[in-house]
Symmetry: C2
Subunit: 212 residues, 2 copies
Protein backbone atom coordinates (compact mmCIF):
# COMPACT_ATOMS: atom_id res chain seq x y z
CA UNK A 1 0.00 0.00 0.00
CA UNK A 2 1.27 3.42 -0.93
CA UNK A 3 0.76 6.10 1.64
CA UNK A 4 0.15 9.72 0.91
CA UNK A 5 2.52 11.40 3.33
CA UNK A 6 0.50 14.59 3.72
CA UNK A 7 -2.18 13.07 5.89
CA UNK A 8 -3.80 15.52 8.26
CA UNK A 9 -3.59 14.80 11.95
CA UNK A 10 -7.40 14.92 12.10
CA UNK A 11 -7.62 11.93 9.75
CA UNK A 12 -5.07 10.03 11.81
CA UNK A 13 -7.02 10.74 14.98
CA UNK A 14 -10.13 9.16 13.42
CA UNK A 15 -8.32 5.99 12.34
CA UNK A 16 -8.47 4.19 15.72
CA UNK A 17 -12.25 4.68 15.81
CA UNK A 18 -12.50 3.32 12.28
CA UNK A 19 -10.41 0.39 13.35
CA UNK A 20 -12.56 -0.49 16.34
CA UNK A 21 -15.71 -0.31 14.22
CA UNK A 22 -14.30 -2.44 11.40
CA UNK A 23 -12.73 -4.91 13.81
CA UNK A 24 -16.18 -5.39 15.34
CA UNK A 25 -17.73 -5.97 11.89
CA UNK A 26 -14.96 -8.45 11.15
CA UNK A 27 -15.59 -10.36 14.37
CA UNK A 28 -19.30 -10.41 13.50
CA UNK A 29 -18.34 -12.19 10.25
CA UNK A 30 -19.36 -9.24 8.13
CA UNK A 31 -17.89 -9.53 4.59
CA UNK A 32 -18.39 -6.05 3.17
CA UNK A 33 -19.55 -2.66 4.34
CA UNK A 34 -20.54 0.58 2.64
CA UNK A 35 -19.25 4.02 3.58
CA UNK A 36 -22.89 4.83 4.40
CA UNK A 37 -23.13 2.07 7.00
CA UNK A 38 -19.79 3.05 8.49
CA UNK A 39 -20.97 6.68 8.60
CA UNK A 40 -24.10 5.69 10.48
CA UNK A 41 -22.21 3.62 13.02
CA UNK A 42 -19.61 6.33 13.59
CA UNK A 43 -21.75 9.45 13.44
CA UNK A 44 -19.82 10.85 10.46
CA UNK A 45 -20.79 11.46 6.84
CA UNK A 46 -20.17 8.87 4.13
CA UNK A 47 -18.20 11.37 2.05
CA UNK A 48 -15.94 12.12 5.03
CA UNK A 49 -15.16 8.44 5.41
CA UNK A 50 -14.48 7.95 1.68
CA UNK A 51 -12.24 11.02 1.73
CA UNK A 52 -10.35 9.84 4.83
CA UNK A 53 -9.74 6.37 3.39
CA UNK A 54 -8.64 7.81 0.06
CA UNK A 55 -5.70 9.55 1.81
CA UNK A 56 -4.15 6.13 2.27
CA UNK A 57 -4.90 4.85 -1.23
CA UNK A 58 -8.19 3.65 -2.71
CA UNK A 59 -9.45 0.45 -1.24
CA UNK A 60 -13.18 0.79 -1.74
CA UNK A 61 -15.16 -0.01 -4.90
CA UNK A 62 -18.12 2.01 -6.06
CA UNK A 63 -21.35 0.06 -5.65
CA UNK A 64 -19.63 -2.63 -3.59
CA UNK A 65 -18.22 -0.73 -0.65
CA UNK A 66 -15.28 -2.00 1.32
CA UNK A 67 -14.17 -5.56 1.85
CA UNK A 68 -14.13 -5.76 5.65
CA UNK A 69 -11.20 -8.16 5.97
CA UNK A 70 -9.06 -6.18 3.53
CA UNK A 71 -10.03 -2.84 5.06
CA UNK A 72 -9.24 -4.14 8.55
CA UNK A 73 -5.86 -5.36 7.37
CA UNK A 74 -5.08 -2.05 5.65
CA UNK A 75 -5.94 -0.04 8.75
CA UNK A 76 -3.87 -2.42 10.86
CA UNK A 77 -0.96 -1.71 8.51
CA UNK A 78 -1.54 2.05 8.69
CA UNK A 79 -1.70 2.07 12.48
CA UNK A 80 1.20 -0.35 12.87
CA UNK A 81 -0.95 -2.96 14.60
CA UNK A 82 0.76 -5.73 12.61
CA UNK A 83 4.22 -4.71 13.77
CA UNK A 84 4.16 -6.76 17.00
CA UNK A 85 5.43 -3.99 19.23
CA UNK A 86 6.56 -4.84 22.72
CA UNK A 87 5.79 -2.72 25.78
CA UNK A 88 6.94 -2.56 29.37
CA UNK A 89 5.03 -0.84 32.16
CA UNK A 90 6.79 1.34 34.71
CA UNK A 91 4.87 2.19 37.88
CA UNK A 92 2.66 -0.51 39.39
CA UNK A 93 0.50 1.72 41.58
CA UNK A 94 -3.27 1.58 41.28
CA UNK A 95 -3.34 2.87 37.72
CA UNK A 96 -0.54 0.57 36.53
CA UNK A 97 -2.23 -2.30 38.32
CA UNK A 98 -5.54 -1.57 36.58
CA UNK A 99 -3.89 -1.43 33.15
CA UNK A 100 -1.96 -4.68 33.67
CA UNK A 101 -5.11 -6.50 34.74
CA UNK A 102 -7.67 -5.00 32.39
CA UNK A 103 -6.20 -3.31 29.35
CA UNK A 104 -6.25 -5.34 26.13
CA UNK A 105 -2.73 -4.68 24.83
CA UNK A 106 -3.04 -7.47 22.27
CA UNK A 107 -6.02 -5.81 20.60
CA UNK A 108 -3.63 -2.97 19.77
CA UNK A 109 -0.95 -5.37 18.54
CA UNK A 110 1.21 -4.88 21.63
CA UNK A 111 2.75 -7.48 23.90
CA UNK A 112 3.37 -6.44 27.48
CA UNK A 113 6.67 -8.09 28.41
CA UNK A 114 7.62 -6.78 31.86
CA UNK A 115 6.44 -4.48 34.65
CA UNK A 116 8.57 -2.42 37.06
CA UNK A 117 8.20 -0.54 40.31
CA UNK A 118 10.48 1.13 42.85
CA UNK A 119 8.43 0.15 45.91
CA UNK A 120 10.17 -2.68 47.80
CA UNK A 121 6.83 -3.86 49.20
CA UNK A 122 5.45 -4.79 45.79
CA UNK A 123 8.64 -5.82 43.97
CA UNK A 124 8.51 -9.58 43.46
CA UNK A 125 4.71 -9.75 43.88
CA UNK A 126 2.59 -10.90 40.97
CA UNK A 127 0.08 -8.72 39.08
CA UNK A 128 -1.85 -10.60 36.41
CA UNK A 129 0.78 -12.77 34.75
CA UNK A 130 3.67 -10.48 35.65
CA UNK A 131 6.12 -10.51 38.50
CA UNK A 132 6.94 -6.92 39.42
CA UNK A 133 10.62 -6.21 38.68
CA UNK A 134 12.89 -3.87 40.57
CA UNK A 135 13.12 -0.36 39.12
CA UNK A 136 16.90 -0.61 39.47
CA UNK A 137 16.91 -3.33 36.82
CA UNK A 138 15.12 -1.16 34.29
CA UNK A 139 18.23 0.05 32.45
CA UNK A 140 19.65 -3.46 32.19
CA UNK A 141 16.32 -4.77 30.91
CA UNK A 142 16.05 -2.01 28.31
CA UNK A 143 19.55 -2.71 27.01
CA UNK A 144 19.03 -6.46 26.98
CA UNK A 145 15.54 -6.75 25.53
CA UNK A 146 15.05 -3.43 23.74
CA UNK A 147 11.29 -3.09 24.18
CA UNK A 148 9.67 -0.74 21.68
CA UNK A 149 7.48 1.20 24.06
CA UNK A 150 6.85 1.96 27.71
CA UNK A 151 3.64 2.65 29.59
CA UNK A 152 4.53 5.37 32.08
CA UNK A 153 2.37 5.19 35.20
CA UNK A 154 4.86 6.51 37.77
CA UNK A 155 4.07 9.45 40.10
CA UNK A 156 4.51 12.90 38.50
CA UNK A 157 7.57 13.82 40.58
CA UNK A 158 9.69 11.08 38.98
CA UNK A 159 8.11 11.18 35.52
CA UNK A 160 10.91 13.15 33.84
CA UNK A 161 13.71 11.14 35.37
CA UNK A 162 12.17 7.83 34.32
CA UNK A 163 11.30 9.14 30.85
CA UNK A 164 14.92 10.21 30.31
CA UNK A 165 16.19 6.78 31.36
CA UNK A 166 13.78 5.16 28.91
CA UNK A 167 14.90 7.56 26.19
CA UNK A 168 18.60 6.95 26.83
CA UNK A 169 18.15 3.24 26.43
CA UNK A 170 16.42 3.25 23.09
CA UNK A 171 12.69 3.25 23.81
CA UNK A 172 10.73 4.42 20.74
CA UNK A 173 7.47 5.49 22.26
CA UNK A 174 6.02 6.40 25.65
CA UNK A 175 2.35 6.02 26.58
CA UNK A 176 2.25 8.75 29.18
CA UNK A 177 -0.25 8.63 32.05
CA UNK A 178 1.65 10.99 34.35
CA UNK A 179 -0.12 14.26 33.49
CA UNK A 180 3.36 15.76 32.97
CA UNK A 181 4.47 17.22 29.67
CA UNK A 182 7.55 15.16 28.96
CA UNK A 183 10.33 17.15 27.33
CA UNK A 184 12.51 14.49 25.82
CA UNK A 185 15.63 15.70 24.06
CA UNK A 186 15.44 13.05 21.32
CA UNK A 187 12.67 14.08 18.88
CA UNK A 188 12.51 10.55 17.46
CA UNK A 189 10.92 9.32 20.66
CA UNK A 190 7.17 9.63 20.35
CA UNK A 191 4.96 10.44 23.31
CA UNK A 192 1.23 9.85 23.52
CA UNK A 193 -0.35 11.62 26.46
CA UNK A 194 -3.46 10.16 28.04
CA UNK A 195 -5.59 13.16 28.93
CA UNK A 196 -8.68 12.07 30.79
CA UNK A 197 -9.77 15.66 31.44
CA UNK A 198 -10.95 16.04 27.83
CA UNK A 199 -13.26 13.09 28.21
CA UNK A 200 -14.93 14.42 31.37
CA UNK A 201 -15.28 17.84 29.72
CA UNK A 202 -17.09 16.14 26.82
CA UNK A 203 -19.54 14.68 29.30
CA UNK A 204 -19.92 18.06 30.95
CA UNK A 205 -20.78 19.56 27.56
CA UNK A 206 -23.32 16.85 26.78
CA UNK A 207 -25.26 17.26 30.02
CA UNK A 208 -25.12 21.07 29.97
CA UNK A 209 -26.28 21.13 26.35
CA UNK A 210 -29.25 18.99 27.31
CA UNK A 211 -30.28 21.27 30.14
CA UNK A 212 -30.50 24.40 28.02
CA UNK B 1 -23.56 34.30 24.75
CA UNK B 2 -25.72 33.01 21.97
CA UNK B 3 -24.97 29.52 20.81
CA UNK B 4 -25.33 28.33 17.27
CA UNK B 5 -27.09 25.02 17.76
CA UNK B 6 -25.66 23.41 14.61
CA UNK B 7 -22.20 22.91 15.99
CA UNK B 8 -20.43 19.93 14.49
CA UNK B 9 -19.25 17.20 16.83
CA UNK B 10 -15.71 17.72 15.52
CA UNK B 11 -15.70 21.29 16.88
CA UNK B 12 -17.03 20.11 20.22
CA UNK B 13 -14.33 17.46 20.42
CA UNK B 14 -11.65 20.16 20.00
CA UNK B 15 -13.08 22.41 22.73
CA UNK B 16 -11.51 20.60 25.72
CA UNK B 17 -8.07 20.93 24.09
CA UNK B 18 -8.73 24.63 23.52
CA UNK B 19 -9.77 24.94 27.12
CA UNK B 20 -6.64 23.32 28.52
CA UNK B 21 -4.45 25.55 26.35
CA UNK B 22 -6.28 28.75 27.29
CA UNK B 23 -6.47 27.80 30.94
CA UNK B 24 -2.68 27.41 30.90
CA UNK B 25 -2.27 30.85 29.31
CA UNK B 26 -4.62 32.28 31.93
CA UNK B 27 -2.63 30.74 34.77
CA UNK B 28 0.54 32.18 33.21
CA UNK B 29 -1.07 35.64 33.49
CA UNK B 30 -1.38 36.01 29.74
CA UNK B 31 -3.85 38.81 28.84
CA UNK B 32 -4.48 38.23 25.16
CA UNK B 33 -3.67 35.67 22.52
CA UNK B 34 -3.91 35.54 18.72
CA UNK B 35 -5.43 32.71 16.74
CA UNK B 36 -1.94 32.25 15.25
CA UNK B 37 -0.36 31.61 18.65
CA UNK B 38 -3.16 29.24 19.60
CA UNK B 39 -2.73 27.45 16.28
CA UNK B 40 0.97 26.97 16.92
CA UNK B 41 0.44 25.61 20.42
CA UNK B 42 -2.30 23.26 19.30
CA UNK B 43 -0.95 22.10 15.95
CA UNK B 44 -3.96 23.48 14.07
CA UNK B 45 -4.36 26.33 11.57
CA UNK B 46 -5.32 29.84 12.69
CA UNK B 47 -8.29 29.88 10.33
CA UNK B 48 -9.56 26.60 11.79
CA UNK B 49 -9.46 28.10 15.27
CA UNK B 50 -11.22 31.30 14.19
CA UNK B 51 -13.85 29.24 12.42
CA UNK B 52 -14.38 26.96 15.44
CA UNK B 53 -14.76 29.88 17.85
CA UNK B 54 -17.12 31.69 15.49
CA UNK B 55 -19.61 28.78 15.85
CA UNK B 56 -20.23 29.97 19.39
CA UNK B 57 -20.46 33.67 18.59
CA UNK B 58 -17.68 36.14 17.82
CA UNK B 59 -15.42 36.81 20.74
CA UNK B 60 -12.20 37.74 18.99
CA UNK B 61 -11.26 41.11 17.53
CA UNK B 62 -9.29 41.54 14.34
CA UNK B 63 -5.77 42.82 15.08
CA UNK B 64 -6.18 42.24 18.81
CA UNK B 65 -6.89 38.55 19.05
CA UNK B 66 -8.74 37.06 21.98
CA UNK B 67 -8.93 38.30 25.54
CA UNK B 68 -7.69 35.24 27.47
CA UNK B 69 -9.84 35.71 30.56
CA UNK B 70 -12.98 36.29 28.51
CA UNK B 71 -12.22 33.43 26.13
CA UNK B 72 -11.56 31.10 29.05
CA UNK B 73 -14.86 32.08 30.63
CA UNK B 74 -16.76 31.61 27.38
CA UNK B 75 -15.33 28.14 26.85
CA UNK B 76 -16.11 27.27 30.47
CA UNK B 77 -19.69 28.30 29.76
CA UNK B 78 -19.81 26.27 26.54
CA UNK B 79 -18.44 23.15 28.20
CA UNK B 80 -20.53 23.58 31.34
CA UNK B 81 -17.49 23.93 33.60
CA UNK B 82 -19.20 26.73 35.53
CA UNK B 83 -22.22 24.58 36.34
CA UNK B 84 -20.72 23.01 39.49
CA UNK B 85 -21.71 19.47 38.65
CA UNK B 86 -21.47 16.82 41.32
CA UNK B 87 -20.15 13.33 40.71
CA UNK B 88 -20.07 10.06 42.58
CA UNK B 89 -17.73 7.19 41.81
CA UNK B 90 -18.93 3.59 41.76
CA UNK B 91 -16.27 0.89 41.88
CA UNK B 92 -13.22 1.47 44.07
CA UNK B 93 -10.92 -1.12 42.53
CA UNK B 94 -7.50 -0.10 41.29
CA UNK B 95 -8.83 2.17 38.56
CA UNK B 96 -11.39 3.86 40.83
CA UNK B 97 -8.71 4.22 43.47
CA UNK B 98 -6.33 5.88 41.00
CA UNK B 99 -9.01 8.33 39.85
CA UNK B 100 -10.03 9.26 43.41
CA UNK B 101 -6.43 9.92 44.37
CA UNK B 102 -5.10 11.55 41.21
CA UNK B 103 -7.76 12.89 38.90
CA UNK B 104 -8.40 16.63 39.08
CA UNK B 105 -12.20 16.71 39.10
CA UNK B 106 -12.21 20.36 40.13
CA UNK B 107 -10.31 21.41 37.01
CA UNK B 108 -13.32 20.14 35.06
CA UNK B 109 -15.74 21.94 37.37
CA UNK B 110 -16.86 18.72 39.09
CA UNK B 111 -17.05 17.95 42.79
CA UNK B 112 -16.65 14.33 43.76
CA UNK B 113 -19.09 13.83 46.62
CA UNK B 114 -19.10 10.12 47.44
CA UNK B 115 -17.54 6.80 46.43
CA UNK B 116 -19.10 3.32 46.52
CA UNK B 117 -18.05 -0.29 46.33
CA UNK B 118 -19.65 -3.70 46.87
CA UNK B 119 -16.57 -5.33 48.41
CA UNK B 120 -17.02 -5.73 52.19
CA UNK B 121 -13.26 -5.63 52.73
CA UNK B 122 -12.92 -2.05 51.48
CA UNK B 123 -16.28 -0.58 52.53
CA UNK B 124 -15.61 1.86 55.35
CA UNK B 125 -11.93 2.30 54.45
CA UNK B 126 -10.69 5.71 53.37
CA UNK B 127 -9.39 6.55 49.89
CA UNK B 128 -8.12 10.10 49.59
CA UNK B 129 -10.71 12.15 51.48
CA UNK B 130 -13.50 9.65 50.94
CA UNK B 131 -14.85 6.87 53.07
CA UNK B 132 -15.99 4.05 50.81
CA UNK B 133 -19.75 3.63 51.08
CA UNK B 134 -21.70 0.40 50.76
CA UNK B 135 -23.02 -0.31 47.27
CA UNK B 136 -26.38 -1.16 48.87
CA UNK B 137 -26.73 2.47 49.93
CA UNK B 138 -26.31 3.75 46.38
CA UNK B 139 -30.02 4.04 45.55
CA UNK B 140 -30.77 5.86 48.81
CA UNK B 141 -27.85 8.24 48.21
CA UNK B 142 -28.97 8.95 44.65
CA UNK B 143 -32.50 9.77 45.79
CA UNK B 144 -31.33 11.89 48.72
CA UNK B 145 -28.53 13.90 47.12
CA UNK B 146 -29.27 13.70 43.39
CA UNK B 147 -25.71 13.83 42.10
CA UNK B 148 -25.46 14.96 38.46
CA UNK B 149 -23.02 12.36 37.23
CA UNK B 150 -21.38 9.05 38.07
CA UNK B 151 -17.93 7.71 37.31
CA UNK B 152 -18.45 4.05 36.49
CA UNK B 153 -15.40 1.96 37.36
CA UNK B 154 -17.10 -1.30 38.26
CA UNK B 155 -16.18 -4.65 36.64
CA UNK B 156 -17.74 -5.25 33.23
CA UNK B 157 -20.07 -8.01 34.42
CA UNK B 158 -22.05 -5.64 36.64
CA UNK B 159 -21.74 -2.54 34.43
CA UNK B 160 -25.24 -2.70 32.96
CA UNK B 161 -26.96 -3.43 36.24
CA UNK B 162 -25.26 -0.51 38.00
CA UNK B 163 -25.83 1.82 35.03
CA UNK B 164 -29.56 1.02 35.10
CA UNK B 165 -29.74 1.75 38.83
CA UNK B 166 -27.99 5.08 38.24
CA UNK B 167 -30.39 5.84 35.40
CA UNK B 168 -33.49 4.96 37.40
CA UNK B 169 -32.51 7.36 40.15
CA UNK B 170 -31.99 10.43 38.01
CA UNK B 171 -28.30 10.53 37.15
CA UNK B 172 -27.72 12.79 34.12
CA UNK B 173 -24.37 11.57 32.86
CA UNK B 174 -22.11 8.54 33.18
CA UNK B 175 -18.33 8.64 32.71
CA UNK B 176 -17.93 5.05 31.62
CA UNK B 177 -14.63 3.22 32.21
CA UNK B 178 -16.09 -0.28 31.94
CA UNK B 179 -15.34 -1.00 28.25
CA UNK B 180 -19.01 -2.00 27.93
CA UNK B 181 -21.41 -0.27 25.58
CA UNK B 182 -24.11 0.86 27.96
CA UNK B 183 -27.59 0.63 26.49
CA UNK B 184 -29.60 2.90 28.71
CA UNK B 185 -33.29 3.14 27.94
CA UNK B 186 -33.52 6.85 28.82
CA UNK B 187 -31.95 8.82 25.93
CA UNK B 188 -31.59 11.91 28.13
CA UNK B 189 -28.82 10.22 30.09
CA UNK B 190 -25.51 10.99 28.46
CA UNK B 191 -22.65 8.52 28.42
CA UNK B 192 -19.02 9.35 27.77
CA UNK B 193 -16.92 6.25 27.15
CA UNK B 194 -13.25 6.31 28.05
CA UNK B 195 -11.56 4.37 25.28
CA UNK B 196 -7.87 3.98 26.01
CA UNK B 197 -7.30 1.75 22.98
CA UNK B 198 -7.45 4.75 20.63
CA UNK B 199 -4.65 6.44 22.49
CA UNK B 200 -2.31 3.43 22.29
CA UNK B 201 -3.16 3.05 18.59
CA UNK B 202 -2.12 6.67 18.08
CA UNK B 203 1.23 5.87 19.64
CA UNK B 204 1.51 2.78 17.45
CA UNK B 205 0.92 4.95 14.39
CA UNK B 206 3.51 7.52 15.45
CA UNK B 207 6.28 4.98 15.95
CA UNK B 208 5.45 2.97 12.83
CA UNK B 209 5.37 6.17 10.73
CA UNK B 210 8.81 7.06 12.01
CA UNK B 211 10.27 3.70 11.08
CA UNK B 212 9.23 3.89 7.44
Amino acid sequence: MKKNMNISSAVILRMPRYYRCIDELYRDNCIRVSSGTLAQRLGLTASQIRQDFSCFGEFGQQGYGYNVKKLRYEIQEILGINNNYTAILVGCGHLGHALINNFDFEKCGFTLTAVFDADETIIGTTIGNYQVRHGKDLDFYLESFQPDTAVLTVPGDVAHEVAERLAQHGIRGIWNYTNCDLHISNPDIKVENVVLIDSLLNLSYKISEKSE
